[in-house]
Subunit: 381 residues, 2 copies
């Protein structure tokens, strides 16, 4: 049996919900799960210094292979000594495969068995991404967790299309394993696809489990489908995933979905949501969504969230942050990003504590009630 | 004699250059002079947290009355408990009078004896700024040092125009003193105008000195005139200023002008230069100007300035900062701003040490040589 670069240590399972509490060990430190990973697309978590991410006890971040490949180039980062050194982050890093961005951002893509031809979103240059290329780039970046190159079809896709796609993704996964040059330093995770089709998720999970990846992701969710479709897909997918490996739900970061995902046995999550909505002056707070940009906050001298102890809430008022956002000052984006990231990191601390106490379903009810998810017109993300 | 809210303690005069070493005491702490004051136009030093400014030993910042008046409004800041509390800065704050911005930013201005009618630069609303209004706003902001409302004519202005302007500025200064409601908490500085005309500077200095302001500024320089014109004006203006009060040269922040100003007896300086050029990826370094945005730095893994110990230089490479600037990541602007502000703060520490050692002229020669100011095609700011 292969000694993997990343391992999963199971601590306990919540008796009430079935959620898992665990620890993931990586070459750059360990982190407790379920965990939310802040996204640093372009080798920086937007508006944040690495120390500030560390200070909120986030020990793993995600970065995007596609973006770093087209700028500054993986060769530059390799020459710098790898992504950790380039961006001054000594915690763990997960990189995606670039597949999702190729399918969502790039123009004129053409999918073949060999890989995907497309034009990049910066200057329109023709590029080709394949399982081998995705491994070459991620090996150069030196991330602790690499992701296999997959196809991520948008919702809805026909069963016929999805079946062909799943089978190709399985063939690509084998090619990724073969091309991965540093399995002793970097763990390669497989991605289970299959959309909302139970038989295809089963087929994908079986194909990938046979390849003994050190971890598995659920891909192809949060791609436009309703949340109940996502939860149903998780209901039948996570039981198909190995119990001794981390389970990662890609691209999900709304508070409700983090809790629902944990209940369904997911260990890792990532999403640009907290930093993206911060740029519009939108916050997640203990009493729900708050758009500090709105005129009604111009003279509101309370903190963003009266129950929060983040740097922004301890030191600044809604009125000040409202002013900064209106005045287009980057410090306002920084304060909103700080709060939102802190909110999700603390939410996951709460989730882990609730698992420890076998009461994650109660925790969910309490959180949903306070956040306002139970209100008929609740504005979710 | 009035007990002023701000006082100047003279430590020594440089035997070689005549520059002054001193300490300015304010209601929010003291700072050594000569000093460079970072500018926080909109109640934030662009891209920086207040703690980061404090950490570089900058104990006074400047903020702009005009900008805060039009957004968020001085009434909002007053309601917040003043500017210090609003922006979470417990060091000293100097606010300008708004005059310079009205003359440089606003549209359709019309100057009368009463004040200036203009349209603001945000939405074109008609506004009126007068000595009384400038005092009302600055009293609401609660800055430690307020500036008198003056006219700041651009270079060149005729002797005739400048004479009328200086005389009006003196009348406005008296009205400012009369309107100032909190002299025990906030010190009001007078501004000596007169452009490049020695007789008018003399007239302005004499008018204002008779009013016993707790400090005096030299205004109307760095408004388009060549540097030698500025230095000549300082040569004959600073000797006209009281020795027991701080002397402030407004809007000047290039490294050479800071040293030349100190040599001519100036104690305080401010300028947006370090944060403004940072936004284009331009740095001041010990070996001169460096545009990290340029392609040649894409694979340069040295720090911005190999002799610098700022946060940016200790932790990041030119290649990384080049990438951040190209990718329009605000963290890149933050790192460049951090370096430039640190550079000027450290430069002034060097100036003060040289005064202590009676060798500021030698310090200047050494600095100019290393920075490249002596090169025939030196790119200055």
């Amino acid at each position: 049996m292969t000694k993997h670069a990343v391992t999963y240590e199971h601590i306990k399972t919540c008796k009430q919900s079935g959620a898992r509490l665990g620890i993931v060990h990586t070459p750059h430190g360990s982190f407790e799960t379920p965990v939310f990973m802040p996204v640093g697309t372009q080798a920086t978590v937007k508006t944040m210094a690495p120390e500030q991410i560390k200070d909120m006890n986030a020990n793993i971040i995600l970065s995007n292979t596609y973006h770093l490949w087209v700028r500054p180039g993986h060769d530059v980062i390799k020459e710098a000594g790898g992504l950790h050194k380039f961006m001054n982050w000594d915690g763990a890093i997960l990189t995606d495969s670039g597949g999702f961005q190729v399918f969502s951002l790039a123009d004129l893509r053409n999918i073949t068995e060999e890989g995907v031809h497309f034009r990049n979103h910066l200057n329109g240059d023709k590029l080709f991404l394949s399982p081998e290329k995705a491994m070459e780039i991620q090996n150069a970046l030196g991330s602790d967790i690499m992701m296999a190159f997959d196809e991520c079809p948008p919702f809805p896709a026909s069963h016929e299309y999805m079946k062909a796609s799943v089978e190709r993704t399985s063939r690509w996964a084998e090619r990724c394993l073969a091309a991965h040059e540093r399995p002793q330093d970097q763990a390669l995770f497989g991605i289970i696809q299959g959309g909302e089709y139970e038989d295809l998720r089963r087929q994908s999970a079986r194909d990938l489990a046979s390849l003994d990846f050190p971890g598995y992701a659920v891909g192809g969710l949060s791609v436009g489908e309703p949340k109940d479709v996502m939860y149903r897909a998780l209901d039948f997918t996570t039981p198909l995933m190995p119990e001794d490996k981390p389970r990662y739900l890609m691209g999900v970061g709304s508070p409700d979905a983090l809790i629902e995902g944990a209940i369904r046995g997911i260990d890792m999550f990532d999403c640009v949501l907290p930093t993206r909505i911060a740029r519009n002056g939108t916050l997640m707070t203990s009493s729900g969504r708050l758009v500090v940009r709105n005129a009604k906050y111009a003279r509101d001298f309370r903190p963003l969230d009266e129950k929060c102890d983040c740097y922004a809430c301890k030191n600044y008022s809604r009125a000040y942050i409202h002013h900064l956002i209106r005045a287009q000052e980057t410090f306002g984006l920084h304060l909103c990003s700080t709060h939102n990231l802190h909110f999700l990191v603390k939410l996951m601390e709460g989730v882990r504590q609730a698992i420890r106490e076998d009461r994650l379903l109660d925790f969910k009810d309490e959180f949903f009630e306070e956040y306002g998810y139970n209100l008929p017109n609740a504005k979710n993300f």
